[in-house]
């Protein structure tokens, strides 16, 4: 990323502390979150750096980072923080806002496509229909990245799963799917309301 794109943003306009129920000012940069993070090495900004970025008002940099989508939500950072900063909840808040604001890093499209396909799937079925999710996810990634190889990745697993009776062509759905649709509608106002 060039220059300092976050400098102009107003951190107050993003309700990160409200969504995450946590006080970012409490962080004194001990780095314990990053020390225990299983995926810190994959991140462009380590967990403690992400928190610092938001503290400094450069929230846009955090929202555009790859790190927020690399996070596996293991909760180790929040559990070990000596100042009770809920770093994992901050990650959730940053992801929610990043998506709503159209700031998702290009390289992280597969992760986001998966989460979106997952939610769309349960909105329609009430419960997860795995095969449908896989088809939906692969198609979405193909259209976003233009990588046809992705369509066939893991295809070799299908017959092995079939042999083990782990594939369901007709998955069970919730009976009252209309209520699920209404729950989604009532929760879809976005992080800023």
């Amino acid at each position: 990323m060039q220059g300092n794109p976050g400098a102009q943003s107003n951190p107050e306009s993003y309700p990160i502390e409200v969504l995450a129920h946590t006080q970012l000012a409490n962080c004194y940069q001990c780095g314990k979150c990053t020390a225990g993070c299983p995926v810190a090495a994959r991140m462009d900004l380590a967990p403690n750096q992400l928190i610092r970025t938001v503290q400094l008002g450069q929230t846009t940099t955090a929202l555009r980072s790859r790190a927020i989508w690399e996070c596996v939500s293991c909760q180790t950072c929040s559990t070990r923080c000596p100042k009770e900063v809920d770093c994992a909840a901050v990650m959730d808040a940053l992801r929610e806002i990043s998506l709503a604001e159209g700031m998702v890093a290009t390289s992280e499209q597969p992760v986001v496509a998966f989460q979106q396909a997952f939610l769309d799937n349960i909105r329609r079925n009430g419960r997860l229909a795995e095969l449908e999710l896989i088809a939906q996810f692969k198609t979405a990634v193909f259209f976003r990245t233009g990588r046809p190889a992705f369509l066939f990745k893991d295809a070799a697993l299908a017959p092995q799963m079939g042999k083990r009776k782990k594939l369901h062509l007709l998955p069970g759905k919730a009976r009252d799917r209309k209520v699920v649709g209404r729950i989604f509608a009532k929760c879809s106002k976005g992080p800023k309301e």
């Binding site: 496509a113 349960i122 419960r127 997860l128 729950i183």
Partner: protein, 280 residues
Amino acid sequence: MNIGYYPGCALHGSSNDYEQSLRACLGALDVQLQEINDWICCGATAAHALNHKLSLALPARNLALAQRDGHKQLFAPCPLCSMQLLKVQKAVADGNGLRTELSQIVEAEVRGDGQILNLIQVFQTIGLDKLKAAVKEPLKSISAACYYGCLLTRPPEVVHFDDFEQPKSMETVLAALGAKTVEWNYKTECCGAGMTMSSEDTVLDLAHKILSNAAAHGANCVVVACPMCHVNLDMKQAAVEQRYHEKLGMVIYYLSDLVGLALGLSAEQLGVNRHFVTKA
């Protein structure tokens, strides 16, 4: 004993071997699972990553349905489902009118009481003495690495279960079955969870660390109480071996598999024969 049961999507999907194992094992212990009527998905990682309110509403609907069915105890064998249910209970208890709001959203009364149990807690509720007395085939050849992963013990202020850095509850269950357990370093490290498809690199890296650490400490199997941990350590093990040019051959059991085997059930009854890595 009757107990409310929230299977969650994984156990009705590709982790149906876990459900087979639970039903066989708990059935042999005279525990009847009563599935919540018309339960829905808890939203899993997708909901908490993309939509905070939805991540509370979906489990809240299941809590309300469990309540309506009259369950005072609810068993959720997937730790993510279980943690999400507990998170809603905690959020509702913290007040701020959330209970009313969630009840309105999910169109059913959300009370937020009732006990949520993970698999280990189900065995604790049955009683380890009773379990020990029921053992027919002590697991003398088992030397297990107990793998808790993330959400059985974290976040501690939500799940209030065991020691979040050095948990011991699974070891205690295995001791009652006559199995040995090993001390190792990756008990509570993450396996990559729901990244199985969307970021395979992450999962293979983490699964490799977990499996090789278990092997280095002399374990001949890894025991889990989570469908996603099983997927990443069992189903993806061949991919891990290929990526890191290492033969691991580590058998991954659900905790209920080992309890079932000790009770004298067969691998076929428990679905152990449907795992990807099986004993040579």
